[in-house]
């Protein structure tokens, strides 16, 4: 391998760690918006715990990306000093939290995804990413238990909760596809045994989602539409607003500590 190949593959790795950090941070921030707005106190705290798991995960990915980047960069540079187009999270993760059904359906989609993704990342040829996955996989086991449980309670609950769940499924379905479409960068890392080939996860993901929705007496959407673009930095109008809030303190008080 010559020098420039090595540089390229280092750049790929930084970008990959950053993406995984973006997915975690943006979703974690969205879940944190439930703090003090939860349906009742216990659920409020539970959602806060999940948000913190994701933000912790983002910190690990960003810290690794910062280490690889050098130049004195830290996790904060990645979280607070990048613009909308620099973020490459899946669009699904950035959508506003919606009602409780919307949040639960999104969590179900992502938790099932992560329960398949993380065990594979644990076997990555990159030991840093594998170590992060080993920590995260335990958290995800609990997240999934929660989101399956709530999906069934709400789907098979009252007429209103059922109808809200079905609507959330319809609203979110078109956002799931990009999770299973590795781009060129990911394909290069898949070839090196570093990245997870998410295309291989779709069948099992769909089977597990279908099983949970069946138990919850909900219909699997058949909608054909799909939106994509998160990995390329093409976002919905919602991400900019999220970043404004999330980055405001750091931008106004650079390097503030508490």
């Amino acid at each position: 391998m010559n020098i420039s190949n090595k540089d390229n593959s280092q750049a790929d790795l930084i970008e990959y760690a950053t993406r995984l950090g973006d997915d975690s941070l943006i979703l974690g921030h969205r879940i944190s918006e439930w703090a003090s707005n939860g349906p009742f106190l216990e659920e409020d705290i539970a959602l806060g715990n999940v948000a913190l798991d994701y933000i912790g995960r983002a910190r690990m990915y960003y810290t690794y990306a910062a280490e690889l980047t050098g130049e004195g960069k830290t996790e904060d540079d990645f979280a607070y000093l990048r613009n909308e187009r620099d973020f490459s999270n899946y669009l699904l993760n950035e959508l506003p939290k919606g009602d409780f059904a919307f949040t639960i359906v999104r969590q179900l989609f992502i938790d099932v995804f992560n329960s398949l993704f993380l065990p594979q990342l644990q076997t990555s040829a990159n030991e840093h990413l594998a170590a992060i996955a080993s920590k995260a996989v335990k958290e995800t086991r609990y997240h999934l238990r929660r989101s399956k449980d709530w999906s069934i309670r709400l789907g098979d609950g009252t007429e209103e909760s059922h109808q809200r769940m079905q609507k959330a499924l319809a609203d979110l379905w078109g956002y799931v596809h990009e999770m299973f479409e590795p781009d060129e960068l990911e394909k290069r890392l898949i070839a090196q045994g570093i990245a997870v080939d998410t295309a291989n996860l779709k069948e099992q993901w769909l089977a597990e989602i279908t099983e949970t929705l069946n138990t919850a007496t909900l219909e699997v959407p058949e909608a054909e539409w799909a939106v994509r673009g998160g990995r390329a930095g093409h976002h919905t109008e919602h991400l900019g607003h999220l970043l404004c809030v999330m980055q405001s303190v750091h931008i106004r008080y650079p390097g503030a500590k508490w």
């Binding site: 009742f40 106190l41 216990e42 659920e43 705290i45 539970a46 238990r145």
Partner: protein, 95 residues
């Protein structure tokens, strides 16, 4: 979700293997499974426990303040129910 639709549960956490479960508080939940999850989220988030019990508060039968005289006073003048009441023979040493 209105709280009146939820049940109240008492939470017991065992902090280490070999120790007893201790009452740590209560919470609201739909049912016992839900209560167990919330107990994990509300009472063990700083690594407080290795095991959790939850019990419906309505299933706890508690003694009443009014019964205190009848329940607890009679034992006050019965020192012979304490091991320390009995002198130990020297040969036994420390027990």
């Amino acid at each position: 979700m209105p709280l009146e639709n939820l049940e109240l549960f008492e939470v017991f956490v065992r902090s280490k293997r070999g120790l007893d479960h201790k009452h740590v508080g209560s919470l609201h939940a739909e049912d016992s499974q839900h209560a167990l999850d919330y107990a994990r989220d509300c009472y063990t988030r700083r690594s407080e426990g290795v095991s959790i019990w939850v019990v419906k508060s309505s299933d706890v039968i508690a003694s009443q303040e009014d019964d205190n005289e009848g329940f607890f006073d009679p034992s006050e003048d019965k020192p012979y129910r304490h091991a320390t009441y009995y002198p130990l023979p020297k040969e036994v040493g420390n027990m």
